[in-house]
């Protein structure tokens, strides 16, 4: 165990997880708030398209994935005006992206499994570039949240009320969607596409149950994220199992536990934590 912790790859992985735990749960709160749970599947497929384009053009595949996700997030923003616009568009985007990705892979003559491999990210394979991206997110996401939390609370509560309270709803939605898309693309490297939930959604789902306000939710989500990520990582090392699944199971257990807590106790916790 101690020896493992001395390995550079392990240290870098732990650091990346810590950075991710600061930024990604807040992104999860935004995903729940915008009601765009399918976004992670859509972004996974778009990331694959980006990787395919990268392999075709010789550019860095993961950079292409991040850019493709960011652009599609921005492209989705106008659809947020109608309540069901976003979720519907995600499904369409998902199908189009996977079709385009397979076509590009076929054109470039790359074995598709090579591209898919990049999607099954592994924490221990984290590179410096990933850590930098997560570091930027770990600063940018909480900063944006603190700076605009009043407007965010209104927007996520009710878009029309926000519009009538002077919140620039279209611009703010655009920024949020780009941020969500880029954050998911970044997180894919950490746990792999299928396990992104552990870092984003599960802490946010648990926090939604525990907190009564947006700020409370963000604090709970980050707190749960940090604890789960570090504990899960250590547990995975101890058990000598892949960290991704262990993290997801641990985060899932916490989310489940939060849902089984009696309501009354939540309220008491909340009033204790908000003073």
């Amino acid at each position: 165990m101690i020896q493992l912790l001395e390995l550079a790859a392990v240290q870098r992985a732990a650091f990346a997880l810590l950075l991710g735990a600061v930024a990604l749960p807040i992104v999860g709160v935004v995903i729940i708030g915008l009601d765009i749970m399918p976004v992670r599947f859509a972004m996974m497929h778009i990331a694959l398209l980006g990787i395919a384009i990268g392999l075709l053009t010789g550019l860095d595949p993961l950079l292409c994935a991040v850019v493709a996700c960011g652009l599609s997030g921005a492209g989705l923003a106008p659809l947020a005006r109608s309540p069901s616009g976003l979720s519907g568009a995600m499904g369409l985007l998902m199908s189009l992206a996977i079709a385009a990705a397979l076509l590009v892979l076929s054109i470039s003559g790359v074995n598709a499994s090579a591209a898919f491999e990049l999607l099954w990210g592994s924490i221990l394979a984290t590179r410096t570039g990933d850590v930098v991206l997560l570091g930027v997110l770990a600063v940018a996401v909480p900063a944006l949240f603190l700076w605009r939390r009043k407007q965010l609370a209104l927007l996520l509560h009710d878009r029309e009320l926000a519009a009538c309270s002077g919140v620039p709803v279209n611009r703010l939605t655009l920024v949020l969607l780009v941020l969500v898309a880029v954050a998911i693309a970044g997180a894919i490297r950490l746990t792999g596409a299928l396990l992104v939930d552990a870092l984003t959604l599960l802490p946010a789902l648990a926090a939604r149950r525990l907190a009564q306000s947006l700020t409370g939710m963000a604090l709970w989500a980050v707190g749960i994220g940090v604890v789960v990520n570090l504990a899960g990582f250590v547990l995975a090392l101890l058990l000598d199992q892949p960290p991704g699944p262990v993290l997801v199971l641990l985060a899932g257990a916490v989310a489940l536990a939060a849902h089984f807590l009696p309501e009354r106790r939540n309220t008491a916790w909340q009033s204790a934590s908000s003073h």
Partner: protein, 215 residues
């Protein structure tokens, strides 16, 4: 606080709105001079709510001219200004998909101190730290009313209220009707409540998307 401003004039000319291909507001024209109070009544589904939402630019499928303070809204900046000029009490005060504290709701008026004072006057002053989805219908309506009073303090010249007393008890209806109609602004209120209508200079009835004068 009376006679601080006389509000802004509201003028609608030939306003028609569609809802999913169906015309719900037909060529409505209405002139409300600054400071006047107008009550809109009519059966459910007659287009009253859509008409108010059209003034705020929340219902985009609309034709015709809508002027507030003798200005039409065309650009995004115009709409931002329009929404600042109007204090809005929506019909369905969204319980929301996401938690919002009553204090945050009051702060969104732009004049948080006045809105809190109004909340105290309306008997919901001690609910500031509660999320709005835990409030009763009547408490929520009062909180939105306090927010609207804050908006007026912050410079809104028009109050658009959509059934603002529907969730209140009888005593509450009278008190709120008094409070609403004493604000120094132009008031257009959708209501089925006689206490509110009686305090307005004009009462109009909307039927199948058209408007006609009752008093």
């Amino acid at each position: 606080m009376l006679v601080k401003t006389t509000g802004l004039p509201v003028r609608l000319a030939g306003v028609s709105c569609a809802h999913g291909g169906r015309t719900v507001v037909r060529a409505v024209s209405l002139d409300v001079p600054a400071g006047h109070r107008v009550a809109l009544t009519g059966t459910n589904g007659s287009g009253k709510t859509t008409l108010l939402r059209a003034v705020l630019g929340l219902h985009r499928a609309c034709d015709g001219v809508v002027e507030v303070g003798a200005r039409q809204a065309r650009t995004a900046a115009d709409w931002t200004r329009r929404r600042r000029e109007i204090a809005w009490i929506p019909q369905r005060q969204a319980a929301g998909r996401f938690p919002l504290l009553v204090d945050e709701l009051l702060a969104s008026s732009g004049a948080v101190d006045r809105a809190r004072e109004a909340a105290r006057e309306l008997g919901v002053g001690d609910l500031g730290r509660q999320p709005v989805h835990t409030l009763s219908g009547g408490q929520l309506q009062r909180a939105y009313l306090a927010r609207a009073i804050g908006c007026v303090e912050a410079g809104a010249g028009v109050l658009l209220a959509d059934e603002p007393t529907a969730a209140l008890d009888f005593a509450g209806q009278t008190a709120v009707a008094e409070l609403l109609t004493s604000l120094p602004v132009t008031v257009v209120v959708v209501t089925h409540d006689r206490a509110v209508a009686a305090r307005c200079e004009r009462v109009l009835e909307m039927a199948a998307g058209s408007l006609r004068e009752i008093t």
